[in-house]
Symmetry: C2
């Protein structure tokens, strides 16, 4: 059984402030917790219902060095910040901040992405297309938000999300080609496949800021044939990767 202090601690991790203070986040859901148990990496504890632990007995028994506990469904619901309750939840260490490596690979760079679902979906897209890092401006939604984690479908364990000042990054790396997604650029259908560079996606309503645009070497556009005013930011990221990376 979880103590009151443990419950309070886990609930505190629903807030970015405490995630940063304690260096941990909550990953919720059957699939992601299975992946975490398999990897073992950076996992501190797993709390799951009896049924879930029985269904994944071998996995749970093979988990060494982590606290695996059975929790009643109402208690698990109390720990969750998601509206649809899950059968399993894990406490995971936030990986230490790393420096991005920009040469020789493609990186997605996000400015002021606000929707946690969009960020999570973009991390999953990166993982599909073999992109190995994402850079976020400091005012993006936190990558360790429960909704972001859930939308990544496990990809958060493979793709580091690095928070950086984007203007400084671009100014210091002018030798790396940078592709800014905008409404008034070159048709992506005519843009050649790339193996090195930055793909920049901006805020859901405003797109990329003028200062960022001014520092990018290429402006690219998904041509609009119909009447929609815009595309969802994660969908736009997917379409661009689907043109520039394959």
């Amino acid at each position: 059984m979880l103590s009151k202090a443990q419950i309070k601690y886990i609930q505190s991790l629903q807030h970015k402030k405490y995630r940063q203070k304690f260096g941990q986040f909550i990953a919720e859901g059957d699939k992601i917790v299975q992946e975490l148990l398999q990897s073992g990496k950076d996992v501190q504890a797993v709390y799951a219902t009896r049924d879930w632990l029985l269904d994944h007995r071998e996995l749970a028994e093979s988990a060494t060095g982590m606290d695996v506990q059975e929790v009643e469904p109402p208690a698990l619901k109390q720990l969750s910040s998601l509206s649809t309750p899950n059968q399993a939840l894990a406490l995971v260490n936030i990986p230490p901040a790393s420096e991005p490596v920009l040469s020789g690979q493609v990186t997605i760079v996000l400015e002021t992405i606000q929707d946690p679902g969009n960020l999570g979906t973009i991390i999953r897209i990166a993982d599909w297309f073999g992109i190995r890092q994402i850079i976020c401006s400091p005012d993006c939604v936190d990558a360790y938000n429960a909704k972001t984690i859930q939308s990544t479908m496990g990809s958060i364990m493979r793709i580091p999300v690095i928070v950086k000042d984007i203007l400084e990054l671009l100014a210091a790396n002018k030798h790396i080609p940078s592709y800014a997604a905008t409404l008034h650029g070159d048709n992506i259908a005519g843009t050649p496949k790339i193996t090195e560079g930055l793909i920049l996606i901006g805020n859901e309503s405003r797109g990329l800021g003028e200062k960022v645009l001014a520092l990018c070497s290429h402006r690219i556009t998904i041509p609009r044939i119909g009447q929609a005013e815009s595309l969802n930011a994660a969908v736009a990221a997917g379409i661009i990767c689907g043109r520039l990376l394959i």
Copy 2:
């Protein structure tokens, strides 16, 4: 002020059963209600806060033949099924069912899409790429669900969603090329641009069913370079449109 009967009626439209019975749905949100007032099309009533009506006075005054009413924010919240309350809400007539036209254009066909946000996002993608109709299997989530409407960002007013038995549709239209999204098909990067055909997207977990696949003329795949197990269904639809339509 809204009567109790009006409130009860509007709340009933949160359920598919009553939307079908009364032939109306609720559209919520600043932007979509503005678009509805501009189009005037099929709108029965608009309920909005005083601030919203003041901000959009000309639009509201130009609206003829519809019931425009000021509603207090708590009353508006009571009418809403969304967690983030909106400033304006409209009652809209569900357009009459139409027969799809498959020749000479591209149509998106969805099998058992369950997530309302995914369906709405796919409707928005269709509207961006100039696709003029979407066909859903009868077991897809309802297109007039409040979350779907919100995710379409207004595109629901332009793109008819037609519910059809997909197996019958494919069997009766073998002369129309059909492109099934699957994990084991031809690389979409090598698939030529199309101007006629069906793009088929399957359920979020299971993909397209075997019976549907057997009736399709082409199987297409977004090649995976990294390790993600799958892509979000709406993102996959976007990537495929971004390869086959531009």
